[in-house]
Amino acid sequence: MIHTSRTLDVDAIRKDFPVLSRILPNGKPLIYLDNAATSQKPKQVLDALTAYYELHNANVHRGVHTLAEEATALYEGARDAVASFINAPSRDEVVFTKNASESLNLVANMLGWADEPYKVDADSEIVITEMEHHSNIVPWQLLAQRTGAKLKWFGLTDDGRLDLSHIDEIITEKTKVVSFVLVSNILGTVNPVEAIVRRAQDVGALVVIDASQAAPHMVLDVQALEADFVAFTGHKMLAPTGIGVLWGRQELLEDLPPFLGGGEMIETVSMQSSTYAPAPHKFEAGTPPIAQAVGLGAAIEYLNGVGMDAIAAHEHAITEYALQRLQEVPDLRIIGPTTAEDRGAAISFTLGDIHPHDVGQVLDEQGIAVRVGHHCARPVCLRYGIPATTRASFYLYSTEAEVDALIDGLHHVRAFFG
């Protein structure tokens, strides 16, 4: 991995992203502040996709012809890139999925169908948190409903952090799995992994970490996290949509049962029964998203070239600046931590009684793209007694000038609905 540069040349980076120079139909230049929803793509990634389809397109792990071997090498090369990016002990621990939701559903289903000691049943407890994305709530609700297991969760403090004060009552000897988000997509909070992992390990529970908002923005080291599974998605980290990752510890991937059956995941098949390929292929039934994996490999190469530590430092500075400037806007309430400490670059807020839909619409008129709504984290909105929020989220190509434009835009919103 290349982690050398300490500062970003944001002007040069922006030139790599064709869409960032787009002029919108209303004549305004695009100010893209919806990076927590999805990132834009650099031409290096777009070129990798085009080259794959123009030169190498074939199905993987099947043919003996030249294109099949090239496609397989590119696809498996992307797996190597991911393994290195997250410091996985083995490339065989990297399972390609279609997105983080599928990764999390895959874990929940593995545990639902597992034998002891992993099996989740009516005597088990599952622990999540109140700040999860719906993709890390609903799969566990489904598992709980289907097995009779009890679903428990950590609540939130008023300042947008996990309330761990009752950790020993929430994670107990009955807990089979603890699944939580590393960086909240709505609050921006970076959660204290170590305290949760320590307690989970004490009671022998598996730990699943949703790193969807972490992998694009910071150094992600699955060994340092000491988790059992880590899920994330490609499209938030410069890659195409349709490619996600589940990292799992090798012995777990060997022991746990497959979920989707089909081509690619088998060893031998008879009409009576089948045996399965070793991980990761055991969990990759059917033709995988090959070009998308190749695109993820190219995205990782791009991110490594810039340096994840430099990206994290840049985003921290932008977040600090944005938090300070947002708090100058009258009636603006930040939902989540109000300082940049232990915080990612997604900032949710309300603006007086003006509904986020209306905020987003008036900002759009000025070329500013933000997300409005409950951000697939409705329990957070319920917790803070709000129907929805407006969210601005930054990435490696975001600038202070864009923050300034957002602030001007918000003043305009207030004037419009004042």
Binding site: H355, H357, D358, Q361, V362, H374, F416
Partner: protein, 151 residues
Amino acid sequence: MKLDSMYQDIILDHYKHPHGRGLRDGDAEVHHVNPTCGDEITLRVKLDGNVLTDVSYEGQGCSISQASASVLNDLLVGKELGEAQQIQEAFLELMQSKGQLEGDEEVLEDAIAFAGVSKYPARVKCALLSWMAWKDATAQALAGAPVKESA
């Protein structure tokens, strides 16, 4: 300016000073949500024979969804059901017109102000939230749904 085609003064007036807001007695109650944004409305209809005597509502949402509920209350209360349904259909047609229709002011009155909203696909659902809730509540009232006491 394009934005003004969506946020007509009539819409902003209804948003700031909603008509008929609050829950009152009804023959049926429904709760509808817009799952993409979290807008919610609880709506009751009161019928006297064939006449819609009240539409009462509570909810939270954007200016478009709130103003639309206010306009609905203005337009439909006091109407015979058949006429109310025609107005609802006319409003639905306007909102699905992608900016191609202006709306018949004789039928839709203030609701023609929403014509501009129909150009914004993400906001059409906001404008229709209360109207779909009304349609549902009326169907339930006609089917003899249990009467709810006012809160």
